[in-house]
Amino acid sequence: MKKISLTFFLATAGFAMAAEPPAHIDLGKFPAKTVDDVVVPVPSEVFSVLDKLQSPNWHEILRTVKTNPGGQRSQTALVLGTVIAEGFIAVEAKDSEEVKKIGRAVLNLANAIHVEKSVRARTTSIIEAADKKDWPTVRVELDRALHDVKNAMTELKDDQLAQLVSLGGWLRGTEALTTIVGKNYTKDGAELLHQPKLVEYFERRLSEMDPRLKNSALVSKVQKRLLEIRPLISDSGDVSQKTVERIREITADLIQSITTKEP
């Protein structure tokens, strides 16, 4: 079964037998150990809200991507995640040249971790759609590329690398979000950082990783710094400007480490 998280039964959930769902259920009765998966949103889910709240200068946020793989497979997976996230930023910036570079970078990085076959067609579609400035298609193809890469890794029994791809994308997306919100702080914009279960999920996945991956200096650092982020966004939905800046510093530091070749 794919991506199923917590299981519970009628008796424990207190659900009525009627077709009409109950107005309230007691989430506290669910055993925490059964919560083993969380849906990781794509960056465009967050960016689409930002676009409605303000008009960010996406070109200021957009960065030139790293096209060469890092030293270890874990680093390459993290870089791949950041590059795909950059693709979503390039779509917001409507920068077709950058999107095309990102398409090629995705292929190059996928090649380094032996999943290039799964994304070759996707990267071609990304480049073609970018040429036509067909942004909705680019967005869809980036999501598909992310999905295909993770699936291919799962087929190769590299689930843990697939999780690092998701984590890399989340870190870059969060860095971009904090940069935008930090420049023009609003309570609604900052609320987008209220993602407690996601941070818990990533933390849990890292702590369960194979020691060979977990003990790499980079993965250890990511795990350590995620622990710093957790208390900043796990309380109420209110995220102060100071907190936004703190999260930005942490995620920027991690992105810097991810995109710098390990010794």
Partner: protein, 154 residues
């Protein structure tokens, strides 16, 4: 009546192993195919909403469930977006449902519908945070029913 043990034959053992492997592979393919069929129904439900500007995520969730047993999927939703969740099953006689609750356990959907093969729920989050998608097979002819869930946002 007693049966006498047959002499061990490597050839027979390999043949039996091959038959078992083939059986397992076929069963696994069948299970996969039915989840894929359930997904195709979920995506069919999504189709009209794509025309209304919803972006459908490539990721999906699925499996099989006995009648009346529920499962939850933890989901991060963002205030400012609008979401539709589409559930599908390949079993025509089954009645399935998907409902969405916020982190306080309060129902969060603003609209829902059920039809043979399909169920759907729409959410306009009042706050950014964690939500719980509850899927259930309410009625079915078979012991277990395959299902798949997809979602879109705008």
């Amino acid at each position: 009546m007693k049966t006498l043990p047959r002499p061990f034959s490597l050839k027979t053992a390999f043949r039996n192993l091959a038959i078992v492997c083939l059986g397992v592979a076929l069963l696994s393919q069948t299970a996969r195919a039915t989840i894929d069929d359930a997904l195709s129904y979920a995506l069919q439900a999504a189709d009209p909403y794509v025309k209304e500007g919803f972006t459908v995520r490539e990721d999906y969730w699925g499996g099989d469930l006995p009648v009346k047993q529920q499962k939850a999927i933890v989901h991060q939703l963002f205030k400012g977006n609008e979401y539709w969740f589409w559930m599908g099953t390949d079993e025509k006689g089954a009645k399935i449902s998907v409902h969405v609750y916020d982190s306080n356990g309060n129902i969060a959907e603003v609209e829902k519908w059920q039809k043979p093969h399909f169920a759907a729920a729409r959410v306009i989050p009042k706050a950014t945070g964690t939500y719980y998608l509850i899927v259930e097979i309410e009625k079915a002819e078979h012991e277990r029913t395959h299902w798949a869930l997809s979602y879109g946002f705008r």
